[in-house]
């Protein structure tokens, strides 16, 4: 007796080769039960001869037709097109990812410029007191005065006179007689002092 057929502690034994054929027997039994349960109850329905024999083949044929519905259009893609497509797209993505993007695009600049232009124009158009706005002449003089006050300029009286565009007939109207002697003397003494200073340097 094979020692595998005897349980050592209990002393029970099995028939010869029981365990050797066990799996095979069990699987056979299972497949019979499965087939039995798969059989329909008595409904009276019947299928054509060999229906189930060719079923899988017919089904896979139909599936392949449905999978290839694109063929109905007549369009075809070049050979190996889909094989290389993935890499092509992935390459494009890497290239576009490293593209440098400007901080301010031309479009953004245009938006800002348009808004600024609208604001400036609306200031002129919508402000009813246009007449109170400073003229360019005013700006020139104001700016010039400011400039003179802040900058140490070496500018001659003649140049200054030129700027103010005093007409010759206006000069005639200026009465030199009104200038007091004292002022003239004071002026001359100041001028002489500086001249003397230069002379002494020479």
């Amino acid at each position: 007796m094979n020692k595998n057929n005897k349980h050592i502690k209990t002393g029970f034994t099995t028939t010869d080769n029981y365990f050797n054929n066990f799996e095979e027997k069990l699987l056979n039994k299972l497949s019979i039960e499965k087939n039995e349960s798969a059989l329909p109850l008595e409904t009276g329905f019947a299928t054509p001869d060999s229906y189930f024999v060719n079923f899988e083949e017919k089904l896979s044929h139909k599936i392949s037709i449905e999978e290839n519905t694109q063929k109905q259009t007549g369009f075809v893609a070049p050979e190996n097109y889909f094989d290389n497509l993935d890499n092509e797209i992935l390459n494009k993505i890497t290239t576009t990812e490293t593209k440098i993007i400007k901080l301010f695009s031309k479009k953004q600049f245009l938006y800002v410029a348009s808004i600024a232009a609208i604001l400036v124009l609306s200031l002129f158009i919508l402000n009813p007191s246009n007449s109170n706005l400073p003229t360019f002449d005013d700006i020139e003089y104001v700016a010039f005065e400011e400039y003179l006050n802040t900058e140490d300029l070496d500018i001659s009286a003649l140049e200054l006179a030129d700027l103010y565009e005093i007409e010759t007939n206006e000069l005639d109207n200026i009465s030199f007689l009104n200038i007091e002697d004292e002022s003239i003397l004071e002026y001359l003494s100041e001028e002489t002092t500086s001249d003397d200073y230069y002379d002494s340097e020479l």
Binding site: F75, P78, D86
Partner: protein
């Protein structure tokens, strides 16, 4: 990988690249044939398809998941294809349908068309339809897309889509009988 898993991986920067490869594998052919029916020429289809995937890659974070990933991608592909064909028409100063007819007339000499006379005639008939009807007809007739899904992709009610398909089939029938 389910669609939900794919979307989650696509939205995670660390798994994006692998998920995107999977996305390409799953959808490249379907989207190719969808675009091809609109722009007809293979090289143009290739351009549009690549742009579609690049847009998907760049905008996946904006995908709100209120529709299916598949519908969202179809929508991008459709928009890209229509924009392309409209631009081509504008450049040629002609209507979109005319551009399609011209491409179809040269199709027999094309290496990438192996259809018979009937298939070519059907394509020409489709090209006579207004754009929306073309889309609906192609998606229903060739791809058997359900109206519910088509409604998500084209953002049109199912009723309007059914009506479009009905009109499209009538027009195609008429064209084929008269030509």
């Amino acid at each position: 990988m389910t669609e939900q898993e794919l979307v989650t991986s696509l939205k995670n920067p660390s798994s994006l690249n692998n998920a995107f490869k999977e996305l390409l594998k799953q959808y490249k052919e379907r989207l190719y044939w969808h675009i091809r029916k609109i722009v007809i020429d293979h090289d143009d289809t290739d351009d549009v398809l690549q742009n579609t995937f690049i847009k998907v890659y760049k905008n996946i974070s904006k995908f709100k998941e209120d529709s299916k990933l598949y519908s969202w991608m179809y929508r991008i592909a459709t928009n890209e294809a229509i924009t392309f064909i409209n631009q081509r028409a504008k450049k040629n100063n002609s209507a979109t349908e005319e551009v399609q007819q011209t491409i179809l007339n040269n199709l027999t000499a094309d290496d990438h068309f192996d259809g018979d006379e009937a298939q070519l005639k059907l394509q020409k008939a489709i090209a006579t339809l207004p754009q929306k009807q073309q889309l609906v007809f192609n998606m229903k007739y060739f791809d058997a897309i359900k109206y519910r899904e088509m409604s998500e992709i084209l953002e049109t009610s199912e009723g309007a889509l059914k009506a479009s398909y009905h009109i499209a089939t009538k027009k195609i029938e008429e064209y084929i009988l008269n030509n």
